[in-house]
């Protein structure tokens, strides 16, 4: 009995260590070597601090650093506050299923497509200006205002919020599902506390520990985001992560060394920000306890919650319109300012030769399917291995899953590419698929773990009692019962893959063009119609995947109430 699944677990462990942990560690090591002056490929062989000195003196370095911190930490704090406020007001008033339907488009939409749509909305010549002009503003030509790529990073923060608030709403919602919220609300209000204050004093302190890790992921992501920052963020100087990408790909190869130093610094910034966040948690906790003990009933917390909810609703409206604007632009032909809608429509954006979206679509699809299938196989093998060993997941294993989501991509991807070059797979499909899997697998694993554990293990026992061996239990009982979560995990994995920018850019070495890399490249200054086409396709793929994830189980199990009901 002890040997059950040992071989399976050994295979999973080898694949994970060799395929996930090793590339990250080796990539970091390579980046660190270059940061201290050693990169034989460009003839640098001497250990030194010169790259760091050079970095300090690069134009705009200080501003870039400040911009990264302000947009990253600012958007995370705002997103958390807004999400909590919205949940406090909406919980119990909106059905969880309806909330899920509302959030899915924002979770599915890739950052790049959303950012492009948002630029279409916010730009001086964007949809918002067109809708209110010239009646309200008197503008007959686009005003000279920096509403996108503004020097403070406001547009970038808005873009990040549109992606992060729905993600936090999702994790808060699932945490609330595990708490006796109604009873606690009733108990608190019976003691004379206002509804809003019960949320802040009773519910939130219980929810926060359950969503801490997703908050760290949001923080790490916001500090090191590249694609969205290229499209919406300040351009000169840009945020640090964007500046690093520019230095890495600059014609002057001597910049690779300070770029590596900056990449290492980027990882340090994320670590420091998480550390500072943990310190802040302690302070808030201490202050919160003092505040709680004073026993204020706070009947006037209502307006704050309403304000948060209105802002969240506004963000969602803006995000929804941004996605629609992609579609409008891709079919627009003549659309002069300040018309609210195109004067003439056309398929030319889609049809003109040389637009070349077919190949990018093919590349995105191929890479997405390959990474998703491979990640799903690995996740099922891991979970089945746990089942056979009859043990729960160790803490280090859980940390391993989250590792690629917490370390900034730029910190190790360039170094990893140097290694890929050496073994000769750089610039190929395999390199891109491998690098994307580092980020796809964690999401697939996270999406699948809870439903897998929630599966009624009595059914599996019943199958064993009927003489079914471990493989038959897996293929004829577990997997069929889990079709719905498996499909959802696949849709999430596929969406993550389609949205990947940096791994494709670095590992593809410019030879592999996906919808995402093309959309980001075209976003600055190309014909909006062509950009619209790429962004529509980039956003469309995840939507199709989510649609299939809902449709397939519903069709397969149309006569199985036990499974359809259980999924609600």
């Amino acid at each position: 009995m002890k040997g059950d699944g040992r071989a399976l677990r050994a295979v999973v462990a080898v694949v994970l260590l060799g395929g996930v942990v090793l590339p990250i560690v080796a990539g970091f090591a390579q980046t660190a070597r270059a940061a201290f002056g050693v990169l034989p490929a460009i003839g640098a062989v001497e250990w030194s601090f010169a790259p760091w000195m050079q970095l300090m003196h690069l134009p705009g370095f200080g501003t870039s650093l400040r911009l990264s911190l302000v947009t990253g930490v600012g958007s995370t704090v705002l997103a958390l506050a807004l999400a909590f406020g919205f949940c406090a007001l909406m919980h119990g008033r909106v059905q969880p299923a309806a909330m899920g339907r509302l959030l899915t488009p924002f979770l599915a939409a890739p950052h790049a497509a959303l950012a492009i749509g948002l630029a279409f909305m916010l730009a001086p010549s964007g949809w918002i200006a067109r809708m209110v002009s010239p009646v309200l503003t008197g503008w007959v030509r686009p005003p000279d205002l920096a509403t996108v790529n503004d020097g403070w990073g406001v547009a970038l923060i808005v873009g990040l919020l549109i992606k992060e608030v729905p993600f936090l709403l999702l994790v808060i919602g699932s945490a609330l599902g595990q708490l006796p919220v109604r009873q606690h609300l009733a108990a608190g209000r019976a003691l004379g506390y206002g509804r809003g204050v019960v949320w802040v004093k009773v519910i939130m302190p219980q929810v926060y520990p359950m969503i801490r890790l997703p908050v760290f992921i949001v923080l790490a992501f916001a500090l090191s985001v590249v694609d969205m920052a290229i499209i919406l963020g300040p351009s000169n100087p840009p945020t640090l992560a964007v500046a690093i990408v520019r230095w890495f790909s600059a014609p002057d190869i001597a910049l690779i060394l300070p770029a590596s130093a900056a990449a290492l610094l980027q990882a340090g910034i994320v670590a420091a920000a998480v550390g500072a966040w943990i310190m802040a948690e302690r302070l808030v906790k201490r202050w919160g306890r003092w505040w709680l003990r004073r026993g204020g009933r706070g009947h006037r917390a209502g307006p704050g919650l309403w304000a948060a909810s209105v802002v969240v609703a506004g963000l969602m409206l803006l995000g929804g319109l941004a996605l629609i604007s992609l579609l409008v632009w891709s079919f627009a032909w003549r659309w002069s300012f300040p018309q609210a809608l195109p004067q003439s429509w056309s398929l030319k954006g889609w049809m003109s030769p040389g637009v070349g979206w077919g190949r990018a679509l093919q590349a995105s699809l191929g890479i997405g399917v390959a990474t998703t299938v491979a990640s799903l196989l690995l996740a099922v093998a891991w979970l089945e291995g746990e089942d056979r060993a009859r043990r729960t997941r160790a803490g280090w294993a859980q940390a391993l899953i989250y590792l690629p989501l917490l370390v900034p991509q730029i910190g190790f991807l360039y170094g990893l590419n140097v290694l890929f070059l050496r073994i000769g797979i750089s610039g190929g499909m395999l390199a891109v698929i491998w690098a994307q899997m580092l980020f796809v697998f964690p999401y697939v694993m996270i999406a699948l773990s809870d439903p897998w554990r929630a599966m009624d293990c009595q059914h599996v026992r019943a199958a064993a009692a009927l003489g079914a061996g471990p493989w038959r239990r897996l293929f004829s009982v577990k997997l069929p019962m889990l079709v719905r979560p498996l499909m959802v995990a696949a849709a999430i994995g596929f969406s993550v893959s389609v949205a990947q920018y940096l791994p494709t850019l670095f590992m593809g070495a410019g030879r592999i063009a996906t919808l995402t890399t093309e959309a980001v490249t075209l976003a600055s200054g190309s014909d909006r119609r062509v950009v619209g086409v790429y962004a529509v396709l980039q956003a469309g793929l995840p939507f199709l995947a989510y649609g299939a994830a809902l449709l397939v189980p519903a069709l397969v199990y149309r006569n199985r109430r036990g499974l359809l009901g259980a999924a609600e």
């Binding site: 009595q458 026992r461 064993a464 009692a465 009927l466 199990y557 199985r560 109430r561 036990g562």
Partner: protein, 209 residues
């Protein structure tokens, strides 16, 4: 055929056993009963006998089924069926496919359908093969679950409070249905229950944990 427990005890690895060692012999067609307060480990004992023990628990003593030592075997090789508190019909399979799931692979082709149909008829469920298990009543589910267990031709059947979710009238009905089948097939049964009337109806040895 007989199921024999010799000095069997269960407990956490390296910890105190949950109860004093138990010895018990159940002859073919009889049903032994384990009674005792909640949380003493009755269901854990059934898990140990069936091979479903959670990680971190160990069993000591010996369990012999027709002279065969089963503790060394994996659950699927023990030929010990289980009736759970919930019927646990697989939600993704039709009622007929649920029953067929237990059928040995050596039964092939049309014979499989026939065996399932016969079993359904014995359970008063003729014509239910294509039904979604979620549409069955509690009593129908319990009977289907028994038939599924019996089609696997178990050499012993464990009953983990299988009647506790049924109302009094249905309870007596299903109980006599299950016991009659065990008796006619000569399968030893071991039941865990809180209800003295279950033990009385079983008519076999009663062990207090």
């Amino acid at each position: 055929m007989s199921l024999e427990l010799k000095d069997v005890s269960v407990g956490p690895k390296g910890g105190k056993p949950l109860f004093a060692p138990i010895s018990l012999q159940v002859a073919a067609g009889e049903v032994g009963t384990l009674m005792g307060p909640s949380g003493i480990g009755k269901s854990t004992l059934l898990d140990a006998i069936g091979g479903h023990l959670a990680h971190g628990f160990v069993v000591s003593g010996a369990v012999r089924l027709n002279g065969r030592d089963v503790l060394a075997q994996p659950a699927e090789a023990r030929r010990i069926g289980v009736l759970f508190q919930d019927a646990l019909l697989f939600p993704h399979l039709s009622v007929g496919d649920n029953l067929a799931f237990g059928l040995a692979r050596s039964v092939r082709g049309a014979a499989r359908m026939q065996a399932v149909d016969e079993a359904l008829e014995q359970a008063g469920l003729a014509g239910f093969a294509g039904r979604d298990p979620a549409t069955l009543s509690g009593g129908q589910r319990a009977r289907a679950a028994l038939m599924r267990a019996l089609l696997a031709e178990p050499e012993a059947l464990l009953l983990d409070e299988p009647f506790s979710r049924l109302d009094a009238e249905l309870r007596a009905d299903i109980r006599s249905f299950v016991f009659a089948h065990l008796r006619s097939r000569g399968i030893p049964g071991l039941m865990v229950t809180h209800d003295a009337s279950d033990a009385e109806a079983a008519g076999g040895t009663v062990v207090q944990l």
